[in-house]
């Protein structure tokens, strides 16, 4: 095979070379179509990979003009003439290196090479099959846009551009890996974004050294700072409106083909805890659901361990009525309560995993089986006590209320660590563990942005953290992301408290 940059003078030699590169007769998807260009009396070879190009645009914008064109008037080189006078495609590029032909073809473009020319033309005809724009799967809202990203980078970018009409919105294409076959589109708004951040993200992406990169979820693991940490440092969202909102605050959005989502860097803990709905709902309602979610995080994190700690070490904290009723229901349960909790938690995690993996045709059965096993049967068989069903159910429910998948996993896994300390050292253990957790999180950074900013370290900000002010008071962009252009608009007059 070998690499060769220069084109051969003879068309056939070029064809042979490309055939060799793509193992042509063997690889039936690699197509070569010859056309005779009557206007300039020249043979033309058209190369494409079937399945990657849109046949209609190939026929109407390349083949038909090549055949139909009767006369040309240009005096430039043949390639230039063809590019300027014959092809009616929106996007044509001249290629001077034979190796680039390979990359262009692999990206779904069509390449034409004219006889006796030492350059080719690459024409954008990419046409993959993909879903239409559908509703988001995991980030649902009741009020607000219902579009979500699909597995096409082109459509995803268009969904974002639909939200932001700004001449400074930049899309940079970065190629990744040794073969340069994967393209990551980096979007940001010039003038808002910090240039250091852009350089840093670019550097991270350039450092990736793999054969192929299948999507943003893989990309996320390549560019994150602490691969072994439970704490996520990159936001994965499937909502174009959220991505657009982040762009306008000076964040960077990364988009790839084949991923129905985008990545947002850098992020803070608040991004994992906020949802788009918080802003679409009116001030009081949005804050109410935020408070519910904040509660959910703590419930999901602490309830099982608190239950164990209190019942095993600090009985005096429970009202007498409750102590007696728990003791009565536990009377016939053979296991210590920590074993009970572990059994139930395992059952719940099983149910959760099974619910995702189960073929959707038999999906409804999981609810029935789960509810029966977890709820009634286990209690009736005296394997666990009824109060424990409540503890585990409320924990499960709360973990579903955490909006971000990565953050939800973070909380779910930490729960077991808390359980361990709660069961060995009681409330003291939980308090110690919580202290360590908060200390750890406060030192974590996502692309140099502290995880708890702007609360710790404290910055002047729009105060959009645990609760948010009314929208018209949020006139500052987050400093910690970018120090450029920090004001969204002028300070609101009148009854502003800022």
């Amino acid at each position: 095979m070998g690499n060769r940059c220069e084109f051969y003078k003879n068309l056939n030699e070029n064809v042979e070379f490309l055939n060799r590169v793509f193992s042509a007769p063997l690889n039936t998807d690699f197509k070569v179509r010859y056309v005779y260009l009557t206007s300039i009396k020249c043979d033309v070879a058209i190369f494409y990979l079937s399945g990657m190009v849109n046949f209609e645009s190939l026929e109407t914008t390349i083949i038909r003009p090549l055949i139909d064109k009767k006369a040309v008037s240009g005096k430039d080189s043949l390639s230039e003439v063809v590019q300027k006078e014959v092809l009616v495609n929106k996007d044509v590029r001249k290629i001077d290196c034979l190796d680039d032909v390979k990359i262009e073809i692999l990206r779904g473009n069509t390449v034409i090479i004219l006889d006796k020319e030492t350059s080719g033309l690459s024409i954008t005809t990419t046409g993959f099959e993909h879903r239409g724009v559908e509703k988001p799967q995991s980030e649902n809202v009741l009020k607000g846009p219902m579009e979500s990203f699909v597995e096409s980078g082109f459509i995803n970018r268009s969904l974002i551009r639909k939200q932001i009409h700004n001449e400074h919105l930049i899309t940079e294409s970065l190629t990744v890996g040794v073969k340069k076959s994967a393209v990551v589109s980096m979007m940001y708004i010039n003038g808002i974004v910090s240039q250091e951040l852009v350089e840093k993200v670019k550097e991270r992406i350039n450092e990736i050294n793999v054969d192929c990169l299948q999507g943003v979820s893989i990309l996320e693991q390549h560019i994150e700072e602490r691969p072994y940490s439970l704490l996520p440092s990159i936001l994965y969202t499937e909502r174009p409106d959220r991505a657009a909102a982040f762009l306008q605050e000076g964040h960077i959005v990364l988009i790839m083909d084949n991923s129905p989502a985008c990545l947002v860097v850098p992020v803070t803990v608040w991004s994992f805890f906020h949802t788009a709905e918080d802003y679409y709902q009116r001030w009081a309602f949005g804050n109410f659901i935020r408070c519910v979610r904040l509660l959910a995080i703590f419930v999901a994190l602490l309830v099982p361990s608190l239950y164990i700690a209190i019942t095993n070490f600090h009985v005096e904290m429970i009202p007498a009525d409750l102590v007696l009723s728990i003791a009565a229901t536990r009377e016939r349960v053979p296991f210590p309560s920590i074993v009970e909790v572990i059994i139930m938690e395992m059952a719940f995690e099983l149910l959760r995993e099974a619910g995702i993996r189960i073929p959707s045709a038999i999906g409804p059965t999981i609810g029935i089986v789960g509810a029966l096993i977890l709820g009634q049967a286990a209690v009736e068989a005296n394997i666990i006590s009824p109060i424990l069903v409540i503890v585990v159910a409320i924990t499960g429910l709360a973990s579903f209320a955490i909006p971000d998948i990565s953050f939800s996993f973070f909380v779910r896994l930490l729960r077991f660590i808390f359980l361990f300390f709660g069961a060995t050292m009681g409330l003291f253990g939980i308090a110690a563990c919580l202290t360590v957790l908060i200390a750890y999180c406060s030192t974590a950074k996502s692309f140099e942005v502290p995880f708890f900013a702007p609360i710790s370290p404290h910055y002047r900000s729009s105060k959009d953290t645990i609760i948010r002010p009314p929208l018209w008071k949020m006139w500052l962009r987050p400093f910690y992301v970018s120090r450029e252009n920090i004001k969204r608009k002028t300070r609101p007059e009148g009854n502003s408290s800022q």
Binding site: N312, A320, V323, A328, R330, V333, T424, G426
Partner: protein, 406 residues
């Protein structure tokens, strides 16, 4: 390798540091009430009422009551192992019941002292002095509305404090008073044995056992036991208890219902609800050896019933008369009671010492003043400030002639 060793060490450390005082809920026996009796020789009988966690069904008993000889009421815990297979804990103990006979003995306070040190015992536990033996009290007490004994004691202490018939007598305040050494402590006074025939009297002029009731739980809790310097010296009726709470500078009672003779027709009575929305205003002058105390008691009255059908509502003159009448009645009663505290107890249950203490620069000066001794010579002026608040839903009394159809 080094890292994993570190992790193993930390885990082992956690296990070694913790776990050992872990107990499952169902492996414990919860003592709800502790009773203490003195017996003639050198010893005590400690009674534990232990809650039965199983729902009280047909055959189940809600609690188990165990009495045992022991040197003190905490060490009895290990002795009961002979009867109880579970570890006995005091985490949910609600009341400590002491027999009157024991409370009147000198060693009473010393015997109570372990209660401060014991971690499991909450300071919120109520102290009850029972007229009979504490073990009998616990055995006789059979709440009918509550299935579980702790519920009875919980509601009891909450409810009775509202009406002012019994004082707030937590262990915490007992030790507080005893340390202060400047007044008497009022403990809840109770009995399960009804005195034969009862005693005629107005609604609150009773000590336990004297209230004439039929049916229900035999437990009667009204009035208080006066504990001076760690020893019970006397008892107060329900009415006297109310007075002592009313005269305290901090707000004690919320509301209580009392009856007063009608000023115009002696044979009828007027029922009123007394609202003490703020505490009494107490001014103490300690310049002289004998202190002068001015007390202003703001009271709001809600008239609930007027038996005599006299129109006190619309006739303002009569209303004024009624007001003054009740004012003098209450003031008279208060003065008699204060006299009793000065002469009989030689100490006050009103917590006026808190106000007296303010008049000194240092606590030492206050201690040197010896408030308790000087109190008996104090000159006390009581003024009751009555405000008639409302007369219920009906204004003018019903015209009885119309009702009877004459």
């Amino acid at each position: 390798m080094k890292k994993s060793l570190l992790v193993i060490h930390i885990i082992v450390l956690v296990f070694m540091a913790g776990c050992w005082d872990r107990n499952e809920l169902d492996e414990l026996a919860y003592v709800i009430a502790i009773g203490i009796d003195a017996i003639e020789e050198d010893g005590f009988v400690v009674t534990y009422q232990i809650a039965n966690p199983e729902e009280a069904g047909e055959d189940d008993v809600a609690s188990e009551i165990i009495s045992i000889h022991a040197p003190d009421f905490l060490s009895a815990r290990d002795l009961v192992v002979a009867f109880v297979t579970r570890e006995v804990v005091f985490t949910h103990t609600k009341v400590l019941i002491v027999s009157e006979a024991f409370a009147r003995r000198d060693e009473f306070l010393n015997f109570m002292k372990p209660a401060i040190r014991e971690r499991q015992l909450s300071r919120k536990i109520n102290l009850i002095v029972s007229k009979e033996r504490a073990s009998d009290f616990i055995r006789n007490n059979k709440p009918t509305l509550e299935t579980r004994p702790h519920k009875f004691f919980e509601l009891m202490t909450d409810r009775w404090e509202n009406t002012g018939l019994v004082p707030d007598s937590t262990l915490h305040s007992l030790f507080h008073r005893m340390e202060e050494d400047s007044g008497v402590f009022l403990a809840t006074y109770s009995s399960t044995v009804q005195v034969e025939g009862g005693r005629e009297g107005k609604e609150d002029d009773h000590i336990p056992g004297e209230v004439n009731i039929q049916g229900g739980n035999p437990t009667q809790t009204i009035g208080s036991a006066v504990i001076k310097e760690g020893k019970m010296i006397a008892s107060l009726t329900g009415e006297e208890t109310r007075f002592s709470l009313l005269l305290r500078p901090e707000k004690g009672i919320e509301k209580m219902i009392a009856t007063y003779p009608d000023p115009l027709e002696e044979k009828y009575r007027i029922t009123a609800r007394l609202l003490a929305e703020e505490g009494s205003q107490v001014h103490v002058n300690t310049k002289n050896r004998a202190p002068t105390i001015h007390v202003k008691v703001p009271v709001k009255l809600e008239i609930l019933s007027i038996e005599s059908n006299i129109d006190y509502v619309e006739d303002l003159e009569k209303q004024h008369l009624l007001k003054n009448h009740i004012k003098t009645l209450i003031e008279d009663k208060l003065n008699t009671f204060i006299k009793r505290t000065q002469e009989e107890f030689r100490a006050e249950p009103f917590r006026w010492s808190l106000r007296a203490r303010r008049t000194f620069l240092t606590n030492k000066q206050f201690e040197e003043y010896r408030w308790m001794d000087n109190y008996s010579f104090a000159e006390i002026h009581i003024e009751v400030d009555i405000e008639l608040k409302e007369f219920g839903k009906q204004l003018a009394p019903t015209d009885m002639k119309q009702v009877k159809g004459d």
